[in-house]
């Protein structure tokens, strides 16, 4: 499996080396050291306790994708092959987004710490970059899930009313959270940089609405795969598929939680170092769950094919 995907494995090795080097070589901001009363070495050691688990999540995600890709190669040409091919490309998007978003944020931070006048432009660029990577990933996963439901008898139900209503309520709350963020356009006492640096109308039309639509595609994709796993024949096949649906739901949840966390950066900035670390570890745990389930589901699907 690794031999057939040398380029991707090598790419991840490069990402890991750059990320570790960037984390260890980058001088920690004085404001952060003073705020938490720690030395630069202590800061770097603490950073390692976050960087190492985060890199492990990248590796789990990569293995999950490779298992899924290998399964797609086995079933290529079959009815469900095309659907899973699209889903696996979506998963590749999520897997690539992990290191790409981390590296983009880290390099942007490094640059604007040295050149504060570029802070706003870089924050904006990172926000749009995240969208550009995630929108195709969500769309491909959704397209694949639609193709899967076309393979089973009966009309696929749209989202149940309860989920639709919950999503509308969540969307309204999320818009409120974004606009209510004290750091929306600049640093505060507790946030070292702003979150968007743009007028409200531009944030809503070019960032928030695309995010909400993209997440809706994710909700529908997870729902469709779950529906398919309930209606398709084969109890062992269904079990493996459920893990895949849970994995996609987990990824979706982690993407949403990270965005909500971004909007709460000012409030989170008030936390003590211990509490902040707990919040970060919980976030890491949430991110890892989705990728672990994808890996588990894909591995079981491969086993069904004798691989």
């Amino acid at each position: 499996m690794l031999r057939n995907n040398k380029w991707l494995v090598s790419l991840f090795a490069v990402f890991i080396i750059i990320y570790v080097a960037q984390s260890l070589l980058h001088e920690p901001p004085h404001a952060t050291l003073e705020k938490f009363h720690i030395t630069a070495t202590q800061f770097k050691l603490l950073l390692l306790t976050i960087v190492v688990p985060y890199i492990l999540i990248w590796i789990v995600g990569l293995f999950g994708y490779l298992h899924l890709k290998s399964y797609v190669e086995i079933i290529r040409g079959s009815k469900d092959g095309e659907a899973f091919n699209s889903i696996s490309k979506g998963v590749l998007g999520f897997v690539l987004w992990l290191p790409l978003s981390a590296l983009a944020a880290a390099f942007a931070e490094q640059y604007y710490t040295a050149h504060p006048e570029s802070t706003a432009s870089l924050i904006r660029a990172v926000n749009y970059f995240n969208l550009l990577v995630l929108i195709p990933a969500f769309y491909l996963a959704y397209r694949g899930s639609v193709k899967l439901t076309a393979l089973v008898k009966g009309k696929t139900q749209a989202l149940p009313l309860s989920i639709s209503m919950a999503y509308i309520a969540f969307s309204a709350l999320y818009v409120m959270l974004v606009l209510d963020d004290p750091a929306i356009n600049g640093p505060t006492n507790t946030a070292t940089v702003g979150t968007y640096y743009q007028p409200d109308w531009l944030i809503i039309t070019t960032i928030v609405i695309p995010r909400l639509l993209m997440w809706l595609l994710g909700v529908r994709a997870a729902r469709y795969i779950y529906e398919y796993s309930k209606r398709v024949k084969g109890m062992l096949y269904r079990d493996a598929l459920k893990h895949l649906a849970q994995g996609l739901s987990g990824i979706l949840l982690s993407v949403i939680v990270l965005r909500v966390y971004q909007s709460l950066s000012s409030q989170v900035g008030r936390l003590s170092l211990g509490a902040l670390l707990v919040v970060i570890y919980i976030l890491l745990l949430v991110i890892s769950i989705g990728f672990i389930y994808i890996a588990k589901g894909a591995k079981n699907l491969r086993k069904l094919e004798g691989a």
Partner: protein, 79 residues
């Protein structure tokens, strides 16, 4: 020949209840790799050996022995 083809279809149909869309590939793979035959050439005499391989493969996929037993019982009725 027609009868054998019908047997292959019966085995696949039962397997579909466990392996879903993967069933035709599962049955064909075991017949080809372990019995050294073309799937449509399988005969009633082959069922016991086929079943041994099927149970082995299935046990690697599930940790529910009752599912393997139920599947084996249904395939056994075809021999």
């Amino acid at each position: 020949m027609v009868k054998s083809h019908a047997l292959y279809n019966d085995i696949t149909k039962i397997s579909e209840d466990y392996f879903g869309p993967a069933a035709p590939r599962f049955v064909s793979r075991i017949i080809t790799n372990h019995l050294g035959k073309r799937p449509e050439d399988v005969t009633h005499k082959d069922v016991p050996e086929l079943l041994t391989w099927m149970k082995l493969t299935m046990a690697m996929v599930t940790d529910k022995p009752e599912v393997v037993r139920e599947f084996a019982g249904r395939i056994n009725e075809l021999s």
